[in-house]
Symmetry: C2
Subunit: 348 residues, 2 copies
DNA sequence: TTTATTTGTGCATTCGTATGCCTAGCTTGG
DNA sequence: CCAAGCTAGGCATACGAATGCACAAATAAA
């Protein structure tokens, strides 16, 4: 076990040595610090003989460049912030996993900025994050009212709006075609013969929810009654609660359209708990097609959004914007598709 | 829209001004740069009059200290790495959310290091991360064979092993009492009268799985037959596949103990898909008590682990270790408890 | 052989903040 | 009234790597 551990900090040096610096490598290789820096960065001016010598010395000393020093010198950090509303939501988890992967490939790390709607990061708080330790932001939490994106952009923060958007802003956007998604879901329900549909949506201030409603209304027209469009957070609990209320009402809908799969699953759980069978008694359709949607317990019919492409493209766009602030603004809109499973059927 | 944006970088200064530096504040406040630094850090030597003057100037200029420069100077980054195996797993999501919260409160950010079992980060790769941009590591991916923790520790990397542990290592550990957890699950099944139990576990190299099996065996004795202990990844899919095989075998078990809730849900989905009712035909018990376990579709009986405390304590321990490398090594073991829901019953 | 050119390194400075040390001016005690 | 002490702040340097510029050596051109 612990053999009388020395309490002198210096004593550690004998066991593991303090981190080697470029000047240590320089001494070991018999060159200057600048040559070490150049050799390891493959500067063509360094002869291959020297380069090898330096490489060897660096390896023997276990030299790894100090990224903080490099970042200071190069005035960037290779870290980007990813703002999400809710780390508990399966959709964001899948999104984050893919973004992480893509950023890593490009040599960037990321920092999560969790920003629930009720905590709305003000620009002041963000500014702190943006001191210099963040090269840019992927924002998945944009809300329609907020002026934060505009402010940040004025400050010259490289940024892309991902998943959700805000209109009339000169900023890169990567999202799904949510209007088409709303249409797709609605057409599917209409084609099955549903006339009395309710919508359990997310917060009104999110473009995803708005666009999906717009799409649905284009198909349903006035048969989608305003009081049948319910808003709340994107959570299982919210779906559950809204569904209870809907099914307890005088005339329960024959189908429920949820703003995303997590809500849809909440809806299903509530319906089943109340003794309803899905899809016999009530049809349910979601959006996103998260992994869970395919589990046997749910087998949820849903409008699939290409989460992976959105994640990858958001990361790429941000990096492009960071590396060339003057490149033209882009707006990517990815197509969606219907994944039919077992939660929709004609009404009784 | 974009009014003929100037391409001269200098031109940006007129609109948003390049970031203000401490020396800009110094000029504005009529003091030296050092005084600015001291004033903003509440150094007692600065008079309150001067302090206010500096604060005002800083605020007017929108000055935010450059954290990269500060980190270089202070030789730390206030960023810690959190190694997880699998970001898709609900348990880790809950853990991460809580760690994030706790680290944030202490002024630390974190970087995710996703490290699937099949990708086993070698120390070389880790070393890169640890150049200087990471102050420490929370490792949730320790496996019993790996020598990575020992190596890192020898290098003096502040580290805590979280959730899972490795024996005989002088390192901080924060975990649940998994042996007790195994006992708890087993006792519950035994008390219901189950004699033929199967275990759908995680990878053999994880201490969680090992400890839970140890605990279970202490209760079951030899009635937990070796060929009834199945290993695989901690995924819904794995639980699903193992369950199929178990129920198709000549003598299906009357109860299945899964190494965590995600596996347990996979097990339930497979059983139901094959026409079995839970708990009438087969009992299922999990570990962790993730949020999903309480959803109506599952109502999973499970051994609850205090994920939040583990997350919070891991974060705190790491920070303690970073700030005082000589503090005594600790080993926290949190109690577990049984959450009874509707997936266990006496065998038929 | 001398001058021009290329090639390979080193020197010195820079990034922006924090801090050890020094000093001018004021206070206090003898 | 002067020595000692205290205050409030400035000067200069360090953190560690990257890089513009200078320059020596080696090669090519004249």
């Amino acid at each position: 076990m612990s053999k009388a551990m020395s309490t002198h900090p210096q004593a550690r040096q004998q066991t593991s040595s303090a981190r080697a610096l470029s000047r240590d490598v320089a001494v070991a290789a018999g060159v200057s610090q600048s040559t070490v820096s150049r050799a390891l960065r493959d500067d063509p001016r360094i002869s291959s003989a020297t380069r090898e010598r330096v490489r060897l010395a660096a390896q023997q000393l276990g030299y790894v460049p100090n990224s903080v020093a490099r970042n200071l010198r190069e005035r960037r950090s290779r870290v980007v912030g990813v703002m999400v509303e809710d780390i508990d939501n399966a959709f964001y988890q899948e999104l984050l996993a893919d973004m992480h992967q893509e950023l890593l490939l490009a040599g960037y790390a990321f920092t999560l900025i969790v920003d629930p709607l009720h905590l709305r990061s003000d620009v002041a708080r963000l500014t702190h994050l943006l001191d210099a330790s963040l090269d840019g932001l992927i924002v998945t939490t944009a809300t329609l009212g907020s002026d934060a994106p505009a402010t940040l952009q004025r400050r010259g923060v490289p940024m892309v709006l991902s998943v959700r958007s805000v209109p009339n802003l000169q900023v890169d956007i990567v999202e799904s075609d949510n209007v088409a998604a709303g249409q797709l879901a609605a057409r599917h329900l209409v084609s099955l013969g549903h006339q009395d549909v309710a919508a359990v949506m997310g917060p009104e201030v999110t473009s995803t929810t708005q666009d999906r409603i717009v799409g649905a209304k284009q198909v349903f027209g006035h048969s989608l009654l305003p009081h049948r469009v319910l808003h709340g957070p994107y959570s299982h609990e919210s779906g559950h609660a809204h569904c209870r209320r809907l099914l307890q009402s005088e005339q329960p809908p024959t189908a429920i359209m949820a703003a995303n799969d997590v809500l849809a699953i909440g809806v299903m759980d509530a319906a089943r708990q109340m003794g309803y069978s899905i899809p016999e008694d009530v049809s349910v359709i979601g959006f996103d097609d998260i992994q869970m949607a395919s589990w046997h317990s749910f087998r949820l019919t849903t409008v699939r959004q290409d989460t992976k492409s959105i994640a990858v493209q958001s990361a790429r766009r941000l990096i492009e914007r960071i590396e060339d602030p003057n490149s033209p603004i882009t707006h990517d809109k990815f197509p969606v598709s219907l994944t039919m499973r077992s939660t929709t059927a004609p009404p009784k």
